[in-house]
């Protein structure tokens, strides 16, 4: 009985994925976002092969060089090749996005499972905590956490991850509460399935759609947040080639060499926009009701 039900559920999931994929493919902007993300991943992986120079290689005799054949986008205040730094920067941005969201998802899911599954006092306590947590503006919380952890890219990633986890906690909790009240959970209890199995089997799959949308959208937001931390000196430290840090360094030369803030900014907009386009596309594909 149970195994046939699981198989049916699996078959349904399979077809669901293909339905979502088919819908997603129709959305040209989402596909464009996906392609750009794939390119960014490739660039990040093969950065040492693609980049003409090392990101930290200085040439103090050739600072602020205009674009030339040797330096396609010119050089910065320390004579470092701008293009190479942009290429290496892809690595940092993707890392920031992926790792901070991973931290947030794991923390948030754990909290949400506790709150939604145990309910009662645990739930009330955790929800109160999240209320308090969310009454501190996100960026401010990241700043406080990053200050406490100290400057550096890894600490910035942790700070952003920790400060954005409440969204995931709420999604998981909501889905758990919904599932808890459904009859098939009663049925699962009746056949003596363990609590943990119930959670894994029924509640999490239900939460996957909203979770996936939040994850995709938050990768972009995390990249933005990290750049802000870099801007106030809490993010990536020199000589790391991170776009936010490059912007911050370039800010001092805004009157004379605007290109130093233009290029990293454009790179950041393109990558964040790609994640957001994909996120929007996923939302429409996973929940077409929202679109119409």
């Amino acid at each position: 009985m149970e195994s046939s039900g699981v198989m049916a559920a699996e078959a349904k999931k399979e077809s669901n994925i293909s339905i979502v994929w088919r819908r997603l493919r129709k959305n040209k902007l989402a596909v464009a976002g996906l392609i750009i993300i794939a390119l960014l991943v490739l660039i990040a992986i093969f950065a040492p092969l693609i980049a003409p120079y090392d990101y930290a290689e200085q040439d103090l005799t050739n600072t602020f060089a205009p674009p030339s054949r040797e330096h396609l986008l010119g050089t910065d205040d320390l004579g470092r090749d701008e293009l190479s730094r942009l290429i290496y920067g892809t690595r940092q941005s993707l890392q920031i996005g992926v790792f901070s969201v991973a931290i947030a998802t794991v923390l948030g899911t754990t909290l949400g499972v506790f709150a939604g599954f145990y309910g009662g006092k645990v739930d009330i306590l955790l929800m109160r905590f999240l209320d308090i947590y969310q009454s501190i503006p996100g960026l401010l919380l990241s700043i406080a956490l990053a200050t406490s952890l100290g400057p550096g890219l890894n600490n910035a990633i942790i700070a952003i991850g920790v400060s954005t986890m409440s969204v995931y906690a709420r999604i998981i909790r909501a889905s758990l509460l919904k599932v808890r009240s459904m009859e098939y959970i009663e049925a699962a209890r009746a056949i003596n399935a363990t609590d943990f199995r119930i959670v894994m089997k029924y509640a999490l799959p239900n939460a996957i759609a909203p979770l996936l949308i939040s994850i995709t959208m938050n990768i972009g937001n995390s990249i933005l947040a990290a750049s802000m931390l870099s801007f106030i000196g809490l993010g990536a430290q020199p000589p790391v080639a991170e776009w936010g840090a490059m912007l911050t360094a370039g800010k001092d030369f805004i009157r004379t060499h605007g290109s130093l803030i233009t290029y990293p900014g454009i790179a950041m907009v393109i990558s964040v926009l790609s994640f957001n386009l994909l996120g929007d596309g996923l939302r429409d594909a996973l929940d077409p009701r929202l679109k119409n």
Binding site: L140, F231, T262
Partner: protein, 313 residues
């Protein structure tokens, strides 16, 4: 409300408490003797246990509005905050105002022209602005309008012109978010039966949109606007450092780099309190907009409905 503020202060205090590095060493410099470090610690009350320090801190903060002294200047944090907070609130307030003025009509136009080029262009534009680091946009604006065109001042707020660039740079993200929310909540309402009822009464299309569709879609929009006030205050911190505005931002960013913790802690706490007050205001506005929420309020004055909507959004 009060439990939330106490919770916020505990959270902020705890984060700062676990910050590595001895404040006494930061103040006195690395060459200080063990003795003088111990003495400074004692003077600052840093040798007391966590609970006692926290109680003392919130006691001072909430009862006497005393947030401690800066490690470096020795000046009262509360006094600084009183001078600086108005600038930050003014910036954030202006920015949220503009976000609403631009965001709601843009979202409404998109919703009423769903799946046409107007809709697609507005929504792509909104997503584009949401994908942009606000401080980068501020720098680009400075480059164009202050440095190249020389139309507006680069820094400072001596005249109203000084507010233009910071407010624009801060409001585009908020406007984009509000436009997206307006569109989706209007589309949700547009198919409701009561909209058809309004049309069947012979109501003018414009009034169907404003009086029935927008009015019902307003609830999530108000929540998003309230939430973006939090983002705005975060954004104000950044904008202030770029445009050299003497608000909370420049004060705190400076303190962060010097590890002047009382300033950071006080600043975060004050802004969090402001944000909590704004969320309370959002709840009141919601009750004003929606009689169902009003009824909920009067029957059981429990649980912020804003939090509920936030969870739903």
């Amino acid at each position: 409300m009060i439990p939330v503020l106490l919770g916020v202060s505990l959270l902020v205090f705890t984060i700062m408490y676990f910050t590595p590095g001895d404040p006494a060493v930061i103040i006195l410099g690395p060459s200080a003797t063990q003795e003088s470090i111990a003495q400074t610690k004692h003077e600052l009350g840093l040798d007391k246990p966590f609970g006692e320090r926290y109680l003392e801190y919130i006691g001072n903060a909430f009862l006497r509005f005393d947030l401690g002294k800066s490690y470096f200047t020795g000046r009262s944090v509360s006094d600084e905050v009183l001078v600086r907070l108005p600038y930050t609130l003014k910036l954030a307030g202006l920015a949220i105002l503009w976000s609403i003025i631009i965001g709601i009509p843009a979202g409404a136009i998109a919703a009423m022209n769903q799946n046409t080029w107007k809709d697609n262009a507005t929504m792509f534009g909104a997503l584009f602005f949401l994908s942009m680091p606000a401080f980068w946009f501020a720098l680009v604006l400075v480059m164009i309008f202050s440095i190249n065109l020389r139309l507006l001042p680069v820094v400072g707020i001596e005249s109203w012109k000084g507010y233009i660039l910071p407010v624009i740079s801060m409001s585009v993200g908020g406007a984009a978010g509000i436009a997206r929310q307006t569109r989706s909540s209007m589309l949700e309402v547009i198919r409701q039966d009561y909209v058809t009822t309004a049309r069947a009464k012979g109501q003018k299309e414009r009034l169907v949109i404003t009086g029935h569709i927008l009015r019902n879609g307003l609830i999530p929009i108000v929540v998003v606007a309230g939430n973006s006030m939090g983002t705005m205050m975060g954004g104000a911190l950044i904008a202030e450092t770029i445009f050299s505005i003497p608000g909370m931002g420049s004060y705190m960013v400076n303190a962060i780099s010097k590890r002047d913790y009382p300033v950071v802690q006080g600043g975060v706490l004050v802004i969090a309190i402001c944000f909590s007050l704004i969320m309370l205001l959002v709840d009141i506005v919601l009750a004003f907009v929606d009689p169902r929420i009003r009824a909920q309020f009067s029957s059981k004055k429990k649980k912020g409905s804003a939090a509920k909507w936030k969870a739903a959004a």
